[in-house]
Symmetry: C2
Subunit: 240 residues, 2 copies
DNA sequence: TGCCAAAATATTGTATACAATCGGCCGGAC
DNA sequence: GTCCGGCCGATTGTATACAATATTTTGGCA
């Protein structure tokens, strides 16, 4: 069974003679390559593919009902994000994050989340405060309901909102990438740490709203370190 | 005149009947896509293409003597590195770093270089010390000769060696990317600041070798901020 | 003259075809 | 039995062809 659903069930009717008929036709199709990226990213996050597993272009193309060209381009993009590895002439494999790489990633993330929280505190405004409080409230409700799935989504949302509050687009983009690379690991154990996670989120928000740069930085950094320590303990131990 | 040289002057002789003749033939050709990436990166750094300029696939393909396929894949890679922008159906353009984006990039770079210097100081060893001193010495010689071109190369080398000394591969990769994005700006004015640059380099190395984490971090961060301030003053001013 | 629509052109997006290389499998020599 | 060399299937790399969309040009009209 294909791990990803085909989004082009029928052929693009090449027989139809409507060359350049109506423009904009029905809905602006985003390029297939982009859609393949999204589909693969989703599949990777959901754990459909295991680390180290080979991603054969032809198979992916069939599963999605497209040719190999968009698949290849999608694979390059995912490789740039660090989600897969591509070896020349040997194809793509799902990145198997070593415990060393995990530790390195967390170390960088901790620092950058700290910087971002500091910036957010420096530039705090009523608007960002409201956005942060909103996500925080939703997180609280989801936790009360033990809704782990929503909680994961909200966790990502929280970090996105916080990144926006920092006001540094370059920083936000890098943090997003680093986060996606470790998503699978953190998702695994986030259930166990849900309570602590959202308490830490709340504390960070408070510091940001208070404009306390140093505290915001400290808490955000520690937040990543805390979660990271648990991840590393779970998967890496001394050496993987 | 093409901005990049063709590395395939003659066709791949498709008429020749040698199907799978000798294996490995003459030298292991790296994939064309990779070579196109290298060629384009070089061209972008050398300033052959101006910010905002369109990069038409067909033209690039002709100039390099390859088909559009490797060119397209190369463009995706460069887009992921932030060197170019790709808009669907509208092609690729050379990234025009706004003054805001420049400031953001420098802010992140400053923090990460600081983190890396701290790590390098923590993990300092005779081997890394020797490597750092070596680049430092070469930089001194190049500066004595007023060899601006070599100096630029050595500057990149210095930061690479320092990144290695930090021992965090993820961090090193991110810093490398950030550095490439701002290369053109820094190259412009590095001549004026050559003396200060290498004095700062020397100070950082000393702190690293001494294992003085806090000082190494401070100096490395300040190094980026100092150079960055000059860049921003030159290009951005209050608003670009 | 200036502006709008529609054809003509340029360029990107996708599919298919073929070439090149990798990895495993088989057979023979020692 | 094991190791080496070469065939064979599987898979990636590249080129070409065509389809779809963006951009420019052109022509008519107010």
């Amino acid at each position: 069974m294909p791990a990803v659903a085909s989004f082009r069930s029928e052929r693009a009717t090449p027989a139809t003679g409507l060359t350049r008929s109506r423009r904009t036709a029905a809905g602006t199709h985003s390029p297939l390559g982009q859609r393949v990226v999204d589909a693969l990213r989703k599949a990777l996050f959901s754990g459909s593919y295991k680390p180290g597993e080979r991603l054969v272009e032809d198979r992916l193309a069939s599963e999605m009902g497209v040719s190999r060209v968009p698949v290849r381009e999608a694979l390059r993009v995912l490789a740039a994000e660090g989600l897969i590895d591509i070896a020349p002439r040997r194809g793509a494999t799902v990145t198997a994050l070593s415990s060393v790489a995990a530790r390195d990633t967390i170390e960088v993330r901790a620092t950058l989340e700290g910087l971002n929280a500091r910036l957010a505190a420096r530039r705090h405004s009523p608007a960002t405060a409201a956005a942060l409080e909103s996500v925080l409230a939703m997180g609280g409700r989801a936790m009360a309901k033990r809704d782990a799935r929503t909680l994961n989504t909200l966790n990502a949302r929280f970090h996105d909102v916080l990144a926006n509050a920092g006001g540094n687009a370059v920083l936000a983009e890098i943090m997003r990438t680093l986060r996606t690379r470790t998503t699978s690991f953190f998702a695994e154990m986030s259930r166990k740490r849900a309570k602590e996670t959202w308490e830490e989120h709340a504390a960070i928000v408070r510091a940001v709203i208070d404009g306390d740069e140093a505290l915001a930085e400290l808490l955000a950094t520690r937040h990543v370190v805390n979660a990271g320590a648990q991840v590393i303990a779970a998967i890496g131990g001394p050496a993987q």
